[in-house]
Symmetry: C2
Subunit: 466 residues, 2 copies
């Protein structure tokens, strides 16, 4: 043992820049007492975003269920700080629906009453009649530990051979590259058209498919992240139709990472489920409590919905059965994450005071995010050679840095920016980017005052550096 141990080379090869050398250096700086602004990750509450009060009050009661009776008594006694009836009723209904509360293992796929609520949410979102052939089915939904959990199950099941490929956008969220590496498959990159706002044409998708096929790679699925990560860009409907057409013609499943579906800032957004309709194209769509206006990253709640689950060759099973089996080995997703998914897909009853406050909080968070993105984009315009494409969505901006000094990379740029300003970003190479281009990803989450303080420093740094 003292000579060392050989470790799985796929695990060794995984890369995850979002938590790589730049944030590691930032942690050292923080330990030295220097100010750092963690924009390397979409982690709103770490940057001061307040949680939605209704959600947290309900979660508090779920943990301490004796408090439900106590709060009812406090209200009856006219205690003005007692929790609202909406909160108490929601917590009581959720405990009732769960039967076992927060402390027991649940079904492997998660509480059924929550999966039913998710199905209703999806149908309502997509303007589909529940129970119709286009409707969502609770038996095709798995609650997961964040969206990551679901993405990992799907990739792990699909990659059955070292020549199996997954079509992934470049740039991409490195969960996909890391998991494909670990599962021993081939990442086949496709390049959205940056200057067209990261749109997709048929050729963007088919060129890499043809090249991969010539190399003997069997591409099984296409990943689409909409709104984009790291680009932050909203995909237009025409681009989505191209994806569906290509999936149909090439026999691909679609993995739709739709965790930013609430982060669209007043612009139109469609789910892949609604674009596919009843075409028999396998769809795996992901959502999460980590983003949106709630930003409950720490709770690790999410869901995976499967549509048109393909049968599994050589068995009498379909893909849903496989996914549930995978989930069963981990016993169940954490209950608090599951309960938060329930809150995400329901919310307080309309018309109540609780609902009014809830809406106020929601609008404030989303308006602030939109204003912050716009403010930061304004500063980009003062930076020589910097351009930022696409309609703002998600929580990220992904500016193209323009030409860098000879021999310098975007990694060097981000490291220098960190040392100079404390701003933690992730360089474009951490996500992949078109050859010869340089980018960085910044989460547009810091408080306004901090943005106003640090962005001029960045402008000065940039214009001195390039």
């Amino acid at each position: 043992m003292s000579q060392g141990i050989k470790v799985n080379s796929r695990v060794l090869d995984m890369e995850y820049a979002v938590r790589g050398p730049i944030p590691q250096r930032a942690a050292e700086m923080a330990a030295e007492g220097r100010r750092i602004i963690p924009c390397n990750i979409g982690n709103p509450q770490a940057l001061g975003q307040q949680p939605i009060r209704f959600y947290r009050q309900v979660l508090g009661l779920l943990e301490d269920s004796a408090a439900i009776t106590r709060e009812r008594n406090l209200r009856a006694a006219g205690f003005k700080e007692a929790l609202g009836n909406d909160v108490i009723d929601m917590a009581a209904a959720m405990l009732d629906g769960s039967r076992t509360g927060t402390g027991a293992y649940t079904e492997s796929a998660g509480f059924r009453f929550i999966r039913e609520a998710v199905a209703r949410f999806i149908d309502s979102r997509d303007s589909v009649v529940s129970g119709s052939t286009n409707g969502s089915d609770p038996d095709s939904i798995l609650l997961t530990d964040g969206a990551s959990g679901g993405a990992v199950y799907v990739l792990e099941a699909l990659i059955s051979d070292p020549q199996d490929g997954i079509l992934v956008p470049i740039p991409q969220y490195p969960l996909y590259s890391a998991t494909i590496t670990r599962c021993g498959g081939v990442l086949v990159g496709y390049h959205p058209d940056e200057e067209a706002g990261w749109a997709l044409g048929r050729d963007n998708l088919e060129r890499p498919l043809k090249a991969a096929t010539e190399d003997g790679v069997k591409v099984k699925a296409i990943v689409v992240i909409n709104p984009g990560n790291p680009t932050g860009a909203l995909l237009d409907r025409q681009s989505m139709r191209e994806v569906v057409d290509v999936a149909r013609e090439w026999g691909l499943a679609i993995i739709a990472d739709e965790v930013y579906q609430e982060n669209t800032y007043g612009q139109e957004w469609s789910s892949f489920a609604s674009i596919i309709g009843d075409e028999p194209i396998p769809l795996f769509s992901l959502h999460s409590v980590s983003k949106g206006f709630y930003g409950e990253c720490g709770h690790r709640g999410g869901y995976l919905e499967v549509r048109h689950a393909p049968p599994v060759v050589g068995t009498n099973l379909d893909m849903r059965d496989i996914l549930v089996k995978q989930a069963s080995v981990n016993l169940c997703p954490n209950t608090m994450g599951q309960f938060l998914v329930h809150l995400m897909v329901t919310g307080p009853a309309e018309g109540s005071e609780t609902h009014r406050i809830f809406l106020e909080e929601k609008v404030r968070v989303l308006d602030d995010l939109q204003a912050k993105a716009s403010m930061i984009r304004g500063y980009f315009e003062q930076m020589t050679g910097v351009e930022c494409f696409g309609r703002t969505g998600a929580m990220y901006l992904f500016p193209r840095l323009g030409p860098l000094p000879e021999g310098q990379t975007d990694f060097d740029y981000c490291m220098a920016l960190l040392e100079k300003t404390g701003l933690v970003t992730v360089n474009g190479a951490g996500f992949g980017q078109a050859p010869g281009t340089h980018h960085l990803r910044m989460a547009f989450l810091p408080p306004f005052e901090l943005i106003e303080e640090v962005m001029p420093e960045w402008v000065a740094f940039h214009n001195g550096w390039v």
Copy 2:
């Protein structure tokens, strides 16, 4: 796609009997309105065990931190149902330690203040001076989603080649077999001596090691579950020393699954860390909030402690670095599980009223579990041919059923038992067992009344069946 999809054969081959056909049939019966008693899994709160009040009250405040001020005001106003100062102070201290509360991603390895508390807990448990060379190091601890999360990371990193083997007890908890299958390694079984209370001699361990080596398998680690799962048996110190000797001589890491360390019912228990001391044998030890007297399965909290982390061949990293990288791809373990780990390794301040109630609850849960195990063992004595070996630990009994009727397996037995009595158990073959023997695992968790009702039915069923 309509012809079906090829799925990763390792994922297809995984088996997980704890959630297999028997509980699936039980779910059908429950849907038909029949009484079922889920003893297939160690899920205490699903069978009516009450959560530890102190833990839940603190967790409730962590979610709704505004309630901290409110409770202080209620106390100041003399409201007798206000939460105790201990609860309020603990919640406030934990929020302070975390800085970001429950809603933000944490470090990949989990909150540092909790890892520090875990290290102090381990040192105190093992009577080691904190900070000494034998002490536990917060940098070598990863908080995980249940203990399963940690076990999966370790196996996934260690299995680097299809001929890499892991030495696993037979019977074993199927997380290990399922994960080894998924990672494409070889499960090398060792057979504790059932009639000697599942003790281990040198030969039990070396025989399979020699056979595996002759087959070209490179065994890298040995899994020990103590107290045992499914056997429920406590390992004696001599058996543990044999494991350490064999690990030293054969260059194995030890994976010590110690999640039942509180479920020892007054009997002596030692950690593998304390047996190994400062010998440079790599140790990965697991603990969890799911078991003990708290039984908080749904919260998916746990930790993995690494000792004597081996360097990784071909790199300047050691095994800890690899584990943290694996964790980083999942971003972080869920925060509520992390906070529960903190409560598990600390608890209310001694001497307070809260502490008195806490101890009362703890003692009652453990005394009840011990009494239930003993009561069920009593019924086994009335069953022809049934024997149950080992000192009672964990939450399980694993009786040997004796000879079954020609052509019948323990799966048939468990299915028939389920249909007859509603009792959900897992047959021995789901865990592995010595050829020609038949067992089942039963979690000894049902309420006393239910045990008294169902066990005579089982006795009658058994004596009529065999």
